[in-house]
Symmetry: C2
Subunit: 96 residues, 2 copies
DNA sequence: CTGCATCCGGAATGATACTG
DNA sequence: CAGTATCATTCCGGATGCAG
């Protein structure tokens, strides 16, 4: 299996890369991600668990009943790939 | 909608990025892609149509009953993003 | 013989309501 | 606020069949 397929095993499922992109801004809470992404709550919970298991992000327990999700080094490493993909996406309306 | 989401609308579905990666080697025929990717034939046909509609690749009619699929400029533009994602995927076994 | 559509079972996804 | 349970819908995967 090539490296790209291995990467897609983790960030391929829907919402995964969007979650990481939001987290590049800094740690965010569950409700913040849900609102900004517009993702279904069950999918958000599922992806967060997968990404945590993959070592892309980790949960930071806060006071009371709140936690925050923050990228690990492995997650921050995705910044370049996300930037390139975003740059490509921004040029989709050009020269159409 | 952010640029990343727009990009994922096209290359998000399964096999899409894998197809483009194989095509970076040069134009390939349907059977070649099917064998090297191990993708189901129906999915391959579906993704190829979507990617063609998105202007990522185009069909080159060959002699007889064969066609080849080749990347357009827009498809070649994905090389950087694929390279970054592949690089990230290759580091997944490190420091595990 | 290559390219692709169709059929069907199963997995992934999405909307909503509910619990701690 | 954070996450789970449930159910409808769509997507995916494998086999098969048909057309050029």
């Amino acid at each position: 299996m090539c490296d790209l397929a291995a990467a897609l095993e983790i960030v391929g499922p829907r919402w995964a890369l969007l979650i990481v992109e939001r987290l590049l801004d800094g740690p965010q809470r569950y409700g913040d991600l849900q609102r900004e992404l517009g993702a279904p709550t069950n999918m958000l919970a599922t992806r967060l668990k997968e990404l945590e298991a993959a070592g892309v992000l980790r949960r930071l327990p806060l006071k009371h009943n709140t936690r925050a999700y923050a990228l690990t080094d492995r997650g921050l490493d995705l910044a370049n790939a996300i930037a390139e993909l975003g740059r490509w996406g921004s040029g989709l309306s050009d020269t159409d």
